[in-house]
Symmetry: C2
Subunit: 351 residues, 2 copies
Amino acid sequence: MSKTITPLSEVGLFGLMERYEKTFSSHRRSMTIKGLENDAAIISQENASLITGQNILLEGIHFDLTYFPLKHLGYKSVVSAISEIIATGSRPSHISLALGLSGKMSLEAVDQFMEGVKTACDKYNLDLIGFKPSSSLTGMTISVTAYGFSKSSKPISRSGAKETDLLCVTGDLGSAFMGLQLLEREKKVLKETGEAMPDFGSYDYLLERQIKPEARIELLEQLEATSIRPTSMCLIREGLAPSLIRLCKSSKVGCIIFENKIPIDHTTSTLCDEMEFNPLVAALNGGEDYELLFTLSLDDYQKVEDAKDKLNNVFLIGHIWPESKGYILETNAGQEIPLKARGWGKEDYDQ
Amino acid sequence: MSKTITPLSEVGLFGLMERYEKTFSSHRRSMTIKGLENDAAIISQENASLITGQNILLEGIHFDLTYFPLKHLGYKSVVSAISEIIATGSRPSHISLALGLSGKMSLEAVDQFMEGVKTACDKYNLDLIGFKPSSSLTGMTISVTAYGFSKSSKPISRSGAKETDLLCVTGDLGSAFMGLQLLEREKKVLKETGEAMPDFGSYDYLLERQIKPEARIELLEQLEATSIRPTSMCLIREGLAPSLIRLCKSSKVGCIIFENKIPIDHTTSTLCDEMEFNPLVAALNGGEDYELLFTLSLDDYQKVEDAKDKLNNVFLIGHIWPESKGYILETNAGQEIPLKARGWGKEDYDQ
């Protein structure tokens, strides 16, 4: 890492914009007519639907720069935005970026962030077509818009679940949230003891899930390979419970999921034990899993069974039922508990 | 205005999202397949290019809530984003919105902001297809992405200006910047004297330009009506000078503009006199005019002359010349001064 520190005021707004025009304009898709070099980007396409979503990440709320490496933050910002495109069954192809940068940040720091953005663009085959930096009086602000195009006239949405459908998720849940708890705990220890090297023990997996999440683009390939088409799909961003409830509300159905079917990694359980935290709460209401929740027609059940080796990392957690029966979690003890969507509890606002 | 104050924590993240789903989903275009009700929006279109741009507005940098009415801020955020689409010669059709909201803000305050967004959507015929609120530890953050579709295979960009082209701008320049100076001055007076009703004298026009700017969509109609096609175009956001230099750099040309041709409203000049500020600096390096800068082929000069009544609010300010001759302002005294793009001077960062 370079030791040079260049204040952003030395480069200026336009200097910064020009800097990344070069990095991101060299090898782009032929459909990308204009990118960073224009006020608005221009993308040409034929007979396709546009899939698009916009995201915002704020310092102090979504990330803490005291322990979040900037390069990883750049990468994660992209993953966070493109995951929504993937949740419609489509491949993301473009992203645009608007940043608020505080005066404390150096050019080298912005370069690190943009290196992470570039790494994600290379990995997921994305063109960056917009880059709008701005100075910020407070913390760092990141807003990413993601774009994809679908030839299908009916992309998958949240609203297609039917009453007898099966409920599936990719990956395991709650691990990114526990990774965050770990980082917060070590930050506190560091503050109190001044010990420089935090001890993360054997929790590398949880840290990776928090600091370097990946987008579940391989699910699209798996579904294509097995000719399975979800009836509805959505992203798990704020925990399983709110995603499930929003999907059900959109589809006008209810659901039941089973505690013992919810995929929770053993590392998550171990740290939960250590911190006296309920792993189920981490899975249901923790955040940032960036996994996918989807429903399948019962008719596809045999296909899923037959293709189990191809659909690794896909878990059946329950099924859809009538709206009148509500959104229910059946515990291991056989109790039926109504699911609740948290999000902006009092604790987020009482400052 | 309602006197009720509802803390955002009472509505919650998902409550807030649902609240505006209804407002913005009632009368939308048939091409809008999925909007606020889905993770990602889905827009279907045929044989069209997508034009898109993303923007960010930050409290304390781009707006001051002590004097900026929230409804107008919502309106301005939309105008600011769609102006970039218009600058490619295309009509905006969709916007998406991501917000950072501090705990100090009430539901009623967010409603006012969204009322401004709705007013702009109605006025400019836009569908809001994305709404992502987030809590913020610091100030308010607004990021808007705008979308438009063009049937033309070659939308207008910054890079098409040719060496003998004419340079034109819409509207007058520097007035929004002087509107801001006026508001800042009155804020200071208010702080010192506690006088409740600021005296804006006869400067309503300047305040309107700052607080309720409009997008120059009528230029597109005027150009169509007169069969004039700009060779290049861009938005004037940070003053004429940086826009001009970026357009010239993209087109690999130079330019000369004439002081006495730059459209400056008499109200701007009057306030500049009063505040001992150079109106030329306001026009060249002030910001937020949201006017358009464009170039025309010399062959179109006669068309412009003939259609002067249709092209009201369009001003010829100079012409393009070879890159080697630089970017020049010729003053009334006949002096040739090189143009400079400011943007993030030291003053923006030395806090």
